[in-house]
Each structure stands twice: as structure tokens, then as C-alpha cells.
Symmetry: none
């Protein structure tokens, strides 16, 4: 029999870790079990969505237990998770736009930018919090470069030329990156020292990160699922 920890009823961080973990598991089951209903092209995208939530489920399992044991932010596992899932999300952008002739170089560009964003974020949060502002700034610039690339750069042009449901799915994903991903820097500011200290009224960094992860990982996957449904019934 496993020891199940007692969590305080108002431990919202713990609550969101548990809900997040289970939601990621359920989402993975959903993507993995439904992928075979689609054409091969879309199968891969759905599979990658499932991998993203599956990787997250495993890390949420650790983070949940880490939190329950140490009552401390599991920064280490958080970034292990992101360094795998964010590049996979860049792969998703590429897979969607492949029908419109996207090149691998677009994918590598996005992956590179996301790695810069995350490595500098990790330095600010985990290694050198005294300079969290500077690391956060560099990370933020990489983030804006991603936003630029997908909204106005090469990716946007490809989506336009694809038209139809590919274009509209791309647009929704662009909004995820602009609005959903913007929750992360807010969490970062709530959890690191800097000029911005205190604006977020003591709400814990992990609550922001957990909510953002649920929105971005599962929501992102569902947009792709929807696109696959549309494209399969259109055909």
C-alpha cells in the first residue's frame, strides 16, 4: 500500500499538480487511442500531441510528489519537461505546415529559439536567481522571436498559402503562443526577485505554470485533433 500524503485543503499548488497530472494522463490516453481514426498525415500530428501530454504526465507525477514532500517549487523537473515538450510543439507547427511546403529549416529555427528561451529561463530561475531579470529579458527576446516568426514571418506566409482549415488551425495555435505562453513569464515574475516583485499578490509561480501547461499542452493538442477531424471528413 502506498503512502498517500495529506495535503492541506487550501494547498492550491498541490491541487493543480494533482489535477494537472491526471489531466495529462487522460489527454495522452485520448490522443493515443484516437490516432488510428485518421489518415497517416494526421496520425503523426496526433501522436506527437499525445507524446507532449505523456511526457508532461510523467513529470507532473514527479512534481506532484516533489511538492507534497518538500513543499518547494520543482524547478528542475519543470525545465526537464519543457526542454522536451516545447521543441515538440515546434515540430507540430512544422507538421501542420508541411502540407503547404514548409521546410525543415523553419522547424530548426523554432527549436533553436525555444531552447535559448528555456535555457536562459532556467539560469534565471534555478542557477543565478540574483540576475533573474537579465536572464528573463534574454528569454523574453527569444520568446518574441518565436511569436514574430509564426505570426508574421515565414510560417505565417506558408499558412496563408495553405488556406482553409490548415490556415485557421495555424491562427489558433498562434494565439496560443501569444496569449497562452505569455502566462509563463508572469509565473516567472511571481517567483523570482526583480522590479516586478509583489505585483502578483503572492500567488505562487507554480499555480501559473500549472494552469498554463494545462491550457497549452492539452488545448494545443485538441486544436490539432480538431483539424484532423475536419481534414478527414472533408476528404
Amino acid at each position: 500500500i502506498a503512502l498517500v500524503p495529506k495535503l492541506a485543503p487550501d494547498d492550491y499548488v498541490g491541487f493543480t499538480f494533482f489535477v494537472g497530472c491526471m489531466a495529462m494522463m487522460a489527454a495522452s490516453a485520448f490522443f493515443f487511442l484516437s490516432m488510428n481514426s485518421f489518415d497517416r498525415k494526421w496520425k503523426t500530428s496526433i501522436l506527437v500531441s499525445g507524446l507532449i501530454t505523456f511526457i508532461a504526465a510523467v513529470h507532473y507525477w514527479y512534481m506532484r510528489d516533489y511538492w507534497a514532500t518538500n513543499m518547494e517549487s520543482p524547478t528542475f523537473f519543470r525545465y526537464v519537461d519543457w526542454i522536451l515538450t516545447v521543441p515538440l510543439m515546434c515540430v507540430e507547427f512544422y507538421l501542420i505546415l508541411k502540407v503547404a511546403g514548409a521546410k525543415k529549416s523553419l522547424m530548426w529555427k523554432l527549436i533553436l529559439l525555444s531552447v535559448v528561451m528555456l535555457v536562459t529561463g532556467y539560469f534565471g530561475e534555478g542557477v543565478d536567481p540574483a540576475n533573474a531579470q537579465i536572464w528573463g529579458l534574454i528569454s523574453g527576446i527569444a520568446y518574441f522571436a518565436i511569436v514574430y516568426e509564426i505570426w508574421l514571418g515565414g510560417a505565417a506566409k506558408l499558412a496563408k498559402s495553405a488556406g482553409g482549415s490548415v490556415q485557421s488551425a495555424h491562427k489558433i495555435l498562434c494565439w496560443f503562443v501569444l496569449v497562452g505562453w505569455a502566462i509563463y513569464p508572469i509565473g516567472y515574475m511571481a517567483g523570482t526577485p526583480g522590479w516586478y516583485e509583489g505585483i502578483f499578490g503572492g500567488l505562487s509561480m507554480d499555480v501559473f505554470y500549472n494552469i498554463a501547461d494545462a491550457i497549452n499542452k492539452i488545448g494545443f493538442g485538441l486544436v490539432i485533433y480538431n483539424l484532423a477531424v475536419q481534414q478527414t471528413s472533408e476528404a
Copy 2:
């Protein structure tokens, strides 16, 4: 080797936790393994039924162990479970009525109401039990709004226009919500202080919740399974 706890033979809460856990696991296997016998439209509904029992199986696993270790109501895990499974049941209502032209706004309305119902219930049970009556009242109002919506509101009209086996499945699900879900507020009253104290003769809150969960999660799924069987042989 895992430690297997000794449970008292008259520990009915423990008994129902163990039975519930296994029933949920078996139901998940049933739904997941049978989903591929149906058309895609019904596949998704069966898959969601399986996700509901799967999520419950995982949480019953915890709650069982939590109960065996602490002999205390696992409120925290109970609500983590509900906050995921009840919205998924709202999704089921939507999926069934999609053939009759249901809009996503119906789904979001039901989800919103169910979240209000559960969040206020959690406050009454876990965070602020001194005011359990008031929280329970607000939660009950949201519950009635759901009942109204599916019995007499937009969802009812759609079911009527769909007719046939969709309409009759919808009707059965409506009964589940009216009668099966009504067991939960009884459990709540058995477990929180208020004017209603003592009427339920000391029967434990968790016995009510466990029985209700088995009926609602598995029964609900089986109704949808039946509908899928009918619709597939009709076609």
C-alpha cells in the same frame, strides 16, 4: 512486495473504495477495448466514457490507500477526480447531441455550471466547513441549473429534434443527472455540519459518494455504449 493492509470486516467505506477502484479499472478496459467496433462518431463518445472511468480508477487507487492509511475522508482527491470527470460528462452530453446540431456553447454552459457546483462544494467540504450549508446551497443551485438545462432547456429541444435512439439515450442520461447525481448532496449532508445533521443515521459520506460514483460513471458510460450499439446496427 507491497504492504497489504488489514481492513476491518465492517469497514464499509474501505470495502466500497476497493470495489469501486476495481470496477472503474474493469470498466475502462471494457470501454477502451470495445471502442474500435464502432463508427468514428461513436468511438469518440465511448473513448470519453473510458477516460471518465480511467480517471476515476486512478483516484480510487489513491483514495483507497488514503483511507486505509489515515481512516479519514479523502476530500482532496475526491474533488480532483470530480473536477475532471464531471466536465467530461458534460462533453458527453454535447457529443451525443452533436448529430442534432448542438453547439459548443451548450457544452461550455454545462461545464461552467458544473465547475461552479464543484468549486463551491469543495469550499463547503474542505476549506470552510463552518459555512457548509451556504456553500452547499450555492452548489445546489448550480446543480439545478444543469438539471434545468438538460431536462427543459436547449439540450432537451435538440434531443427531441434528433428523435429515435438519440432521444431515448438523452432521456436516460437526464434521469441519471436527476436521480443518480442527487445522491451526492445526500452524502454531503451526511458529512458536513448543518440543520440536516444526523438524519442519515451516521452512514458515512464516502459510502454515498462511492455508490453514486459507480452508478453514475459506469452506468452513464453503458448508456452511451448501448446507444452506439443501436446506432451501428441501424446503419
